[in-house]
Symmetry: C2
Subunit: 335 residues, 2 copies
Amino acid sequence: MSRGQTIHLNPAPSVLSFANIGGKYEADGPLSAYFDHLEQNSFFGESTYEKAESAMQKFALITALQKAALKSTDLDCIFGGDLLNQCIGTGFAMRNFSTPYYGLYGACSTMGEGLSLAALLIAAGYLETAAAITSSHFCTAERQYRMPLPYGSQRSPTAQWTATASGCTILGQEGPGPYITYVTRGRIVDKGITDANNMGAAMAPAALDTLSAFFQDTGYVPGDFDRIITGDLGKLGSQILLDLARQDGLELHANHSDCGLLLYDLQRQDMHCGGSGCGCSAAVLNGYILSMLRKKQWNRILFAPTGALLSPTSSFQGESIPGICYALCISNDKE
Amino acid sequence: MSRGQTIHLNPAPSVLSFANIGGKYEADGPLSAYFDHLEQNSFFGESTYEKAESAMQKFALITALQKAALKSTDLDCIFGGDLLNQCIGTGFAMRNFSTPYYGLYGACSTMGEGLSLAALLIAAGYLETAAAITSSHFCTAERQYRMPLPYGSQRSPTAQWTATASGCTILGQEGPGPYITYVTRGRIVDKGITDANNMGAAMAPAALDTLSAFFQDTGYVPGDFDRIITGDLGKLGSQILLDLARQDGLELHANHSDCGLLLYDLQRQDMHCGGSGCGCSAAVLNGYILSMLRKKQWNRILFAPTGALLSPTSSFQGESIPGICYALCISNDKE
């Protein structure tokens, strides 16, 4: 059933398995117990950082397949993407598997974008199983979006830290849960923010737009959720979202979290405004969040990753930053 | 119904409208009568080539909406992407419309990728209307993938010419046709080609992989189609596809065409191996191909755009070129 921007999935696809991988700063963070693998060496056994990012994705997919007792040839489709130009982190990882593939570009919202498409096509009966996957790597992102690492550039106080991480979810028609029960597709929102070192501010209005649509379309209220988890607004972006939402009469303070704030300890780790990158929300979802649901610590959450659809070229040309956000209701009940 | 890589769409979504736009070389080509607009100035009224690419997409979407008598707020979803880093051609065009958006990266296969997702979600009943859109621009692609234009680099004989064009299809649950009756999702195929000036050779094996899956899954034979139209293998890539297919017992010679060969007159225009770029197959589909179907000159075609998932960085690092291809059966009958 479709209403507004939200689709109710009935039958609701089930999470079959999930897996993630992170680097040394993720290992040093508060969620380290929720990773399948943590690697101290940023090259992950490869010769370049770009190949390292592909290696992380291969690990995440293979581990998720193993946990679901599936072979890659059993998998009906993979939905994936990343931040690298032409999404080579994903393309070069996925060429190792003979699984049909849809490439996505949703910046840091990619985990939500891929998971929503996978869930929709499974609920429709077109696919039996599908994976959603994404990644980011601090070193590939710095080189591409900002400065070569050896320059040692000083970071702006509003900057976020691109997570070196990957996460993969495998969904199926039947399974132990949790279930994807609602999907809200996002619209592009651009409020004129031009500071590429302040992505949280640029993306917060998109998060509000999608969350407002979700609550309006479904009739749920924020109190119905154990957590409403955006990703990756960081410290400043989260504050902006909460303020904007309050102005709109939407009270999110009580149970809002953000993947960019969960992944690192900002008191101890020098990540400025928090984590970001496709791999941030992907690793937090495919470790901490889905584990908390499986352990019945939580029963129903709203996962709402956000993306900033800029490029260095668009910023050089004076453009502002378009944001987008996809929301998924993930629940232990099929609803 | 799903079988192998192919999904039979029942009810089959209908094309509601289509629109395209091209530049001066497209205006000089044999399909000029099949464009909604042709512009002599490569800037399309904008100050940069990247903004020109977004302007082409805006024109294509607005024109397609007008032809379908729809407003952008009536449209349930847009599926789009392009070749530019972080897909800014599409992102910055689509921020002007309050329509939910899924960003894709499928290189020159994007028209097929987007159209297949739009068709699947409409057939499932989740969307009433959806648009698929993409573009490319010779000047943005040369700068990003090859050399700045003022260098005047000599082109390799196997090189293809990135089309300056955009195309948009709007699909709906009910309509006058033609209908999208089957969708075959593609797998990444990489046969080790490393020459970034020979994309046709890199993509031909992916085209064969998807076309073989389509014929095996559906029971159709090539003779059932008025045309089997790949995009954009160009002259050399098309020859490789026909040769490889013949080795596999699949005879495509009689009715194969390629968007890269249709868009330009290679005898007269100096495009070397033919056209390429997301906009090539998008403009040929959303002009010539869908017009031929609407005019009943053709009754059933197979549209199979191909993409090369490389980046300059992957080539600099010595990587080969992964290819992908999506196939759609488009027919005047619902089948």
